[in-house]
Symmetry: C2
Subunit: 610 residues, 2 copies
């Protein structure tokens, strides 16, 4: 049974965000997008909404219940998944933003992300396969050599090959400098310098399956120095392309490479995405007559981490978008339930009559509070993520290197927020969606409990919450002499100035300005401490405060986009913004107080006191 389209995302909101707020039609003025128009953008949204609704959403619970399993050395996934992913590929979604000559549509990233959000909302663990492939292909397009692109990226873009990223190892999760996977040089081949790879990689999503003709692993490994020793730290890390199947000279699928599944991880959620411990080079397969996984160097030797960050930043924004979409669909499910579930009566004279019919729970103030919170979280998070995508588009099209640099800096500082804020607050939204459903929401008869389980991963993978905090406060706000933070403050200042021209927005503009001033002051205080340990002790709280401030800005900016338009939709936007400014933004006050005080509670805490 197909999901009602309205319970994935609000199309009305998407159109507001794209056309009224971000004004993406302006992108068609650039030659890259000259073949496009609002009609072609709408067509991409239509087709995504349709495939997501008809093929992805109906599999959502099945992908959870029938989780991937290892039979012999083959990974089996839920029935129907292969067909759904094939439809995704056939619709050209993998290559949506790519050049025409690569078989792409040259769709702006903003529109592509909006379209992708339908798949994330419908079935996040199914959508993770193409999400990873797209990031993988993008990395190879940026850093791979032409032969690698021809051999591996083309079939990825056609939806025939899928990709992975292999970073973590059992002893090295967030600490990449401690990886010990090794790559030994074998000689040159048509695909570049060839190596033999050996080591274990943990948490590899889409690490093995029979869904595609081949799997393109991008593997971080260390190339030993002239003495055969691994170079300690991140400096020795290189990036290798390791396919599941080697290619014959004519590009057809050849023999099995020495990559094998050592085990599957059984997760709380995101279960449809197979997650593997992979062994490289254990000798189970003998490509070229001997054990050792064959791989090809991508980019320069010892520059692997920089290449991988290209993929990781994209994956982080993808995670944020996925978390937003989960929050969004949870909200729409809760809204639908609240409108249709009668329970209790009003707190008025009529409500005291027990023979009067029960009222839909959406009439209760506390239910409206929980719905407003979800609306504010989900729409705010989605808007921020589309804003980031729009920065990517603008940077790609910009002809001024200065402007491009500025857009990139802004994107850099927003990336940890775009990843972490939806992971935290759209999960909180999913929690409220369960609460609105009451006992029913706690059962597997409704989807909201699965949204909650699935969304919980997003604060962990692609850099935990703690890592994002260190990235933001330890790197992004200080880089380029604080230029990114300055650009961020300018953007907020622009929004505040616009808001001050619009009736009734003065209060929000003032609140935003005050908190921005507070944040920049606190940032200076933190970095004038002269002690990085102390400065960074509460980086997670800084991340959270920065996040709430950013979403408050995004809400005010949306209201600027709405201007003085009237109607239920705009009244809803204003109400959600009011909610955010009244209930949410003030929460950051205590966080900023604590940061300003250079609180050292955690540094002073000792192991033996726990």
């Amino acid at each position: 049974m197909a999901e009602l389209p309205s319970k994935l995302l609000s199309r009305r909101d998407l159109e507001f965000l794209l056309y009224e707020w971000l004004e993406v039609e302006a992108l068609t003025e650039a030659s890259r997008h000259a073949d496009h128009s609002r009609e072609t953008f709408d067509a991409a949204l239509d087709s995504s909404e349709r495939i997501a609704t008809e093929l992805f959403a109906p599999l959502y619970q099945r992908c959870d219940q029938d989780e991937p399993r290892l039979e012999g050395d083959q990974v089996r996934v839920a029935e129907g998944l292969k067909a759904a992913l094939a439809a995704f590929g056939e619709a050209g979604m993998v290559a949506a933003t790519k050049d025409f000559e690569l078989g792409g549509m040259q769709l702006p990233t903003t529109v592509s992300h909006a379209a992708m959000a339908y798949f994330y909302a419908a079935n996040i663990s199914a959508a993770a396969y193409p999400l990873l492939s797209m990031a993988n292909a993008n990395l190879l397009l940026a850093h791979g050599n032409p032969a690698q692109i021809e051999a591996f990226v083309r079939p990825e873009l056609e939806g025939r090959y899928y990709g992975t990223m292999c970073l973590s190892e059992p002893q090295a999760g967030s600490s990449l400098s401690d990886i010990s996977t090794r790559a030994d040089y074998e000689g040159e081949c048509s695909l570049g310098p060839q190596y033999r790879i050996s080591g274990n990689k943990m948490w590899i999503s889409a690490g093995d399956h029979e869904l595609s003709e081949n799997i393109v692993h991008l593997v971080l490994a260390k190339i030993p120095d002239e003495n055969g020793q691994l170079i300690p730290g991140v400096k020795g890390i290189s990036l290798l392309l390791v396919p599941k199947y080697l290619l014959n000279a004519d590009g057809s699928r050849g023999e099995r490479n020495d990559v094998s599944v050592a085990g599957l991880n059984h997760k709380m959620g995101y279960r449809g995405t197979v997650n593997c411990l992979l062994n490289f080079g254990e000798g189970r397969h003998q490509p070229g007559g001997r054990g050792g996984a064959v791989g090809y160097l991508v980019g320069e030797k010892h520059r692997g981490l920089a290449c991988m960050f290209h993929m990781m930043n994209e994956a982080r924004i993808g995670v944020g978008l996925a978390a937003s979409a989960l929050g969004y669909t949870g909200y729409l499910h809760a809204l639908d339930y609240a409108r249709n579930r009668p329970q209790g009566r009003a707190m008025d004279a009529q409500g005291k009559d027990p023979t009067s019919p029960q009222r839909p729970i959406i009439e209760h103030a506390d239910i409206k509070r929980m719905l407003l919170a979800q609306k504010a979280y989900a729409e705010g998070a989605l808007a921020l993520n589309l804003y980031c995508a729009h920065l990517l588009d603008q940077a790609e099209l910009s002809e001024s290197s200065e402007e491009r640099q500025a857009l990139t800096l802004l994107l850099d500082i927003l990336t940890p927020i775009a990843k972490s804020w939806p992971s935290q607050w759209c999960l909180a939204g999913n929690d409220l969606a369960i609460q609105i459903h009451g006992g029913y929401g706690y059962t597997r008869d409704y989807k909201v409990e699965q949204f909650y389980r699935d969304n919980r991963l997003n604060a962990i993978h692609e850099g935990t919450h703690g890592i994002q905090g260190l990235d933001l406060l330890g790197r992004k706000v200080t880089m380029a002499n604080g230029a990114a933070l300055k650009l961020y403050a300018q953007r907020l200042g622009d929004t505040i100035a616009r808001a001050n021209e619009i009736a009734d927005l003065g209060g929000h503009a003032e609140a935003l300005g005050a908190q921005l001033h507070r944040l920049t002051t606190v940032t200076r205080t933190l970095w004038s401490a002269g002690n990085p340990q102390l400065s960074l002790a509460n980086a997670s709280l800084y991340l959270e405060a920065f996040g709430h401030l950013s979403i408050a800005w995004i809400w005010l900016d949306q209201l600027c986009g709405a201007g003085d338009k009237v109607g239920d939709f705009y009244a809803g936007k204003r109400a959600a913004a009011d909610y955010f400014y009244r209930y949410e933004l003030p929460r950051i006050g205590p966080h900023l107080d604590l940061l300003a005080a250079l609180d050292s509670t955690t540094l002073e805490m000792r192991d033996e006191w726990f």
Copy 2:
């Protein structure tokens, strides 16, 4: 494999709470507990810790994976559960607090609750069976007639019969006035007035199983008026005792009553506790030759809700204690992991050397923050719940009716906090426990993901978060002319006065006093609005602010109990209290601001704007 005892609860902390803080040994001065001493209290804790560790904890994941299923009309549960529950019964835990003449131990409730916490920490969905039975037995002891007590309570206390509470119906979850289960009078019998019951009851935990000889359902139903009409509203509700099996004249188990399972609910967590839709009187069984479930009136006709509230208040404190125990064991699991997982290096000169060994993650500030938060939540929540149990003990022993009334009022106002605060914040603690485990915590190889799933129920059952907020702000703070709130403020005042006599506690005392003053002022403001809808619009936020204030008080009171004692344990208590006063208590400022402003955002929101 048995769980390490230290990963359920900290015995050192339990002993501090019982003996150093609440000074429960003083209870042995009362004649009821004269046979007891610290040795007998310790023996009860020892035996609970042992059974919980050896029999309950090893089944924790099995109860989740092998969830109850319906085979024919029989409910099957996980293997081993029956033996674990039998050991619980044999240890006398069901009757622990009951009179000697009923086979009990006359243990103080405070000690019994501390012992029960081991079972909740070890396996909440297994422990739910005796928890419900104990509450059921207590209700019957208070409101049942002697024949009912002899026939049903005695075997419950021996662990041979289990009990349920049947309140909700599919169309009436939180709104009990809308139940439509009907009880028709049949005549008098040896167990009291006999009725035939018909209707459907939803969400019945332990509603059917083969774990006990019989099941004692306590059912809310409406007895029709003289015209055969159900009386609308809560006034018509009566309480009926409906056993699964009727009893023969000699008290032995007789024929099957007309109660049957219409279906099982499949939940996100708490899976070991079977949860049923029960049909009463559908005619599948024919007791006495005809359909209709036989039941016996408990207490007075039409006074059923008041009787049930006796059970519900106890169940609410039980839920709070269970949530606390889940938070506690999650914390100890995270602590153990953090001490043993090497990852990353320090932010100092040595840490820059990538050849130096990785450090246990407990050395990172953000990990310590997450551990401190969990410690503050779990120990604070457990302390509050034991404080409530101690009020029960004191009320029971008090010879002054005035004092007893005061203790009961205090317990009344604390009950919504004791239920809701741990349900919210110990769940937040479980979320942090997953985060500390990183990707591993998201897998089912570790228990923390199950703690998180299980604990999510606690904000729903026995009165949702929203219901607790309305109970607190709409009833508890205003009842008896605000006497309960006054008593609450006095207790906090006493703690503040004691704290001011102890070195270094002045700052916390001042902060607590200021926030208490704020809360009482805001309460007056809310109720002077003259519009209950507006006063109660943000009752959930009031509940949260009241909750944080209460836990801050409990932390300061614990430090008063610790006095000037030194050592790691006390240093840990002080650090957790510092954490709470620095990171947590200030959070309530924005909540109280919003409440003071009589914010009407949610009231003004309209359905069509969503």
